[in-house]
């Protein structure tokens, strides 16, 4: 890196002479300005569009004052205090707030799928089939001794694909079926509590601690089911949100407490301060009659379908469409991308006839990453719709098209992560008599996983904003109900935004569209932030 020192060096000849420092300083300033140009401009535009979406000026000043006093002041003060203590308490505080936040986001996504897309009995059938498949694999392993990986894969796929529908048929013939809340409780609640219990037991090397954790979590999640549904907290809402937000948070808190051994980790109370601030603020605002901002981006926008009237327009079906599409994208691109990267980094020979093929594949992947997205859209249209005869504009077609689009990005970033694993670890593993696959699975993959995840999440962030391929494969301009499966017609958030571009009225241009843009960008930035957090966490450790 740069090693020059242009700082003042005291009195020396030439100090005030010919060699002027000015051009250098101007150059450095220009370069800095150029670096900031794009960032500042886009940041400014994002602030502007957020302003249009939220419309803060429509709110009563008292409203801001109340929330400033109840939420901003206490939490900022607390954070500043933690920051000055310099013992990592601020990190604990922010993580303790961040984990439930991301957990709630993820949980809400899953919850929406269960409300609108996946039937509860389909889910039950799927879980049952999975259990049977795992059982078959384990049984198979016991009978056959050491089985081949492909065999296991085959048995697993057959068990899942074959059993799923059969189980569904079978289950639907039952005279009495378990109640929905029981199914949620025993699939999500029990599963989550069991995983948490196992983790605690392993971390503490103490079976009883694990059992205690499991019991405590499971009892809590069961108790929550009996909350009065009229509060809005119905059993599925409670169970799913608890599983995705509360259990990871509890696990994190347990880890912090265990590491601190004795001294109380006060940072863990930060989220309570934030939530309490919000609640108190809301109550006060209501009591004092201060009106909040007339935001375009509100609950109504997030939960209703598009409409001719800007006040009633919403993004809900497109949001669900995007989530469903991302499921297809992840399934279709992640395993293949990581597999390809593993082959290229771990297996590919550097000499011999196959090395020519490998070289060709690598050049090809680099070039695929530069193919315009609209061309991928044409590929999806021709391949899936025209040749394979899928219906146009359905979720799987959109997902697979975008999946193909981000496949080269995932391969390239996964390759980088795998390459960063030191060769000495591989040598050590081979020297112990490990086979190539054992070395990959037990040494290379665990080391490379954070890097692979970071790259993949960034790629998924790009996928969620892709519009052109969706236009080409004929995703709907606007749908008025959420797709009810992977083979249903859908619209995604960016596609819906493009539809609104055609609405000339001011309310749509500066209101509804701004709200849509803010929603989309928020999702994308949270994904990027998660990726960057993962990267920082693991970079620091190694």
């Amino acid at each position: 890196m740069a090693t020059g020192h242009d700082g003042p060096t005291g009195d020396w000849f030439g100090n005030s002479e010919q060699i002027s420092r000015l051009p250098g300083k101007v150059f450095a300033a220009t370069c800095l300005a150029a670096t900031l140009f794009g960032i500042v401009m886009v940041a400014g535009l994002l602030v502007y569009v957020t302003k249009d979406a939220i419309r803060p000026l429509t709110a009563n000043p008292g409203w801001f004052l109340v929330f400033f006093l109840t939420l901003v002041v206490p939490s900022t003060a607390l954070l500043a205090y933690f920051g000055r203590r310099r013992d990592g308490e601020a990190t604990v505080a922010l993580t303790a707030l961040g984990i439930p936040f991301f957990g709630l986001l993820l949980g809400s996504g899953v919850l929406m799928l269960f409300i609108d897309v996946i039937g509860i009995f389909e889910w039950l059938a799927f879980v049952a089939a999975t259990i049977v498949a795992v059982g078959v694999i384990l049984g198979h392993r016991r009978v056959r001794g050491r089985t081949s990986f492909l065999e296991e894969l085959l048995v697993g796929v057959v068990a899942l694909v074959g059993l799923g529908p059969v189980t569904y048929q079978f289950i639907s013939t039952f005279p009495t079926l378990p109640q929905a809340w029981l199914i949620y409780l025993f699939t999500f609640g029990l599963g989550g509590a069991a995983i948490a219990g196992l983790l605690v037991a392993r971390r503490r090397n103490d079976r009883r601690a694990g059992l205690t954790a499991f019991t405590a979590l499971f009892v809590t999640v069961t108790a929550g089911v009996f909350i009065d549904p009229s509060t809005g907290i119905t059993p599925p809402v409670w169970v799913i949100l608890f599983t995705f937000a509360a259990i990871p948070t509890a696990l994190y808190a347990e880890g912090v407490v265990r590491r601190r051994q004795g001294s109380l980790p006060v940072g863990l109370f930060f989220p309570f301060v934030v939530v309490a601030g919000m609640l108190v603020g809301a109550v006060l605002v209501d009591l004092l009659g201060f009106a909040g901002p007339q935001a375009w981006l509100d609950i109504q926008f997030l939960t209703s379908a598009n409409s001719r009237f800007p006040e009633e327009a919403g993004i809900y079906p497109a949001l669900i469409g995007s989530i469903l599409m991302m499921v297809v994208v992840a399934i279709s691109s992640f395993p293949i991308g990581v597999g390809a990267a593993l082959y290229l980094e771990e297996y590919a020979p550097s000499s011999g006839p196959l090395s020519v093929v490998v070289k060709f594949i690598e050049i090809n992947i680099a070039n695929l990453a530069g193919v315009p997205s609209v061309v991928y859209g044409l590929l999806g249209l021709a391949l899936f719709v025209n040749w394979l005869d899928f219906a146009s504009g359905i979720v799987v077609v959109g997902g697979m098209t975008v999946g193909l689009l981000i496949l080269p990005i995932i391969i390239i970033s996964a390759q980088e992560a795998i390459r960063a694993v030191p060769g000495s670890l591989r040598q050590a593993s081979y020297g112990m008599g490990a086979t190539r696959w054992q070395t990959i699975r037990r040494v290379v993959l665990p080391e490379a996983l954070p890097g692979i995840l970071t790259g993949s999440i960034l790629a998924f962030g790009r996928a969620i904003g892709e519009t052109a391929p969706l236009l080409m494969i004929g995703a709907a301009a606007s749908v008025f109900r959420a797709p009810n499966g992977f083979f249903d017609i859908f619209s995604a958030m960016p596609r819906q935004i493009y539809t609104w571009v055609g609405q000339p009225s001011q309310e749509f241009q500066y209101g509804v569209m701004a709200a849509g843009v803010v929603t989309l960008v928020t999702v994308m930035i949270s994904m990027n932030a998660a990726a960057i957090l993962i990267r920082n966490k693991y970079e620091r450790r190694s």
Binding site: S350, A428, Y430, M432, R442, P446
Partner: protein, 292 residues
């Protein structure tokens, strides 16, 4: 390294031309070694090579190596950098297979079986011949997981706690780590890490342990701990150690092989004899520090 004073032709350099006649192994042919009578301990040979040539692409790294490594003794390999001693070590457990450009001719026997025969499984071979590397390379896992790694990949999962404990005790590390087996192996000091790597290698109970300059990255105290450990290990295992440190070889080994530039094995004999009364003038020059 000065190559100038190596102009004297050595009888061993001819061995390269004998490769053609060596295409098929001759079963039952006894290798006659003039040193046979001088050995202090009569012991059976566990690894032996005849006319072993190794090439990386077009460059020859080893020329016609003949050696017989005795069982349950420490055999040291010394020589200047780039003389091929590490290459030879990696031939024994076929680690060189991982390098695409590497080509091996001649014969290298482990327990009377040529390990380069087509029916040998290098993975199974490496499970019998452990290896310790130049700089400590524990896995980024817990201490326990590091030692248990070999047992797990070989499916020997019964009685694992006991085996891990035994291996750590044999590696003289147990007392230092018994209370923190679930901490990362990377949290240990350099010398402890290297002993952890040794424990990892002996946990699966191999016949031979190959060590590639195991102390070169360690401070003097850690080095002497590892050296003591190596001497202890020779009671149960055959140890082959590569080192660039002649004093170390003199201290810990029973047999010493001297490789010189160009990939030749110039002398192989009892350590005492090699250091006090070498047969070759070049070896004497090397050992007394005239070159190298």
């Amino acid at each position: 390294m000065s190559n100038e004073n190596m102009t004297t032709p050595d009888p061993n350099t001819e061995s390269g031309s004998r490769v053609e006649s060596q295409t098929s192994p001759r079963p039952g042919s006894e290798v006659v070694d003039s040193d046979e009578l001088n050995r202090p301990k009569t012991s059976e040979t566990v690894v032996s090579s005849r006319d072993l040539d190794v090439f990386y692409g077009d460059t020859q790294a080893l020329q016609g190596i003949d050696i017989e490594i005795p069982k349950k003794q420490v055999t040291a390999m010394i020589g200047p950098s780039g003389c091929g001693k590490s290459t030879f070590l990696r031939c024994i457990n076929r680690m060189n297979d991982l390098i695409d450009s590497c080509r091996i001719e001649g014969e290298l026997k482990f327990e009377a079986k040529n390990v380069y025969d087509s029916d040998v499984d290098p993975v199974a071979l490496r499970r019998r011949i452990g290896m310790v590397f130049q700089s400590p390379n524990p896995f980024p896992k817990t201490i326990y997981e590091n030692v248990a790694y070999g047992l797990k990949i070989q499916g020997k999962t019964e009685n694992m706690d006991q085996k891990v404990e035994d291996a750590l005790k044999s590696a003289a590390l147990w007392d230092e780590v018994k209370d923190r087996l679930d901490e990362s192996g990377l949290d240990l000091s350099g010398g402890q890490q290297q002993r952890l790597c040794i424990a990892r290698a002996i946990a699966v109970d191999p016949e031979v342990i190959l060590m590639d300059e195991p102390a070169s990255a360690l401070d003097p105290v850690a080095t002497s701990q590892v050296e003591d450990l190596i001497s202890d290990l020779a009671e149960e295992y055959t140890v082959v150690i590569v080192t660039h440190n002649m004093q170390q070889a003199a201290r810990i080994s029973d047999k010493t092989a001297v490789f010189l530039t160009g990939g030749e094995l110039v002398e192989f004999d009892d350590t005492q004899k090699v250091f006090e009364n070498p047969e070759s003038q070049r070896v004497e020059d090397y050992i007394t520090g005239k070159f190298g």
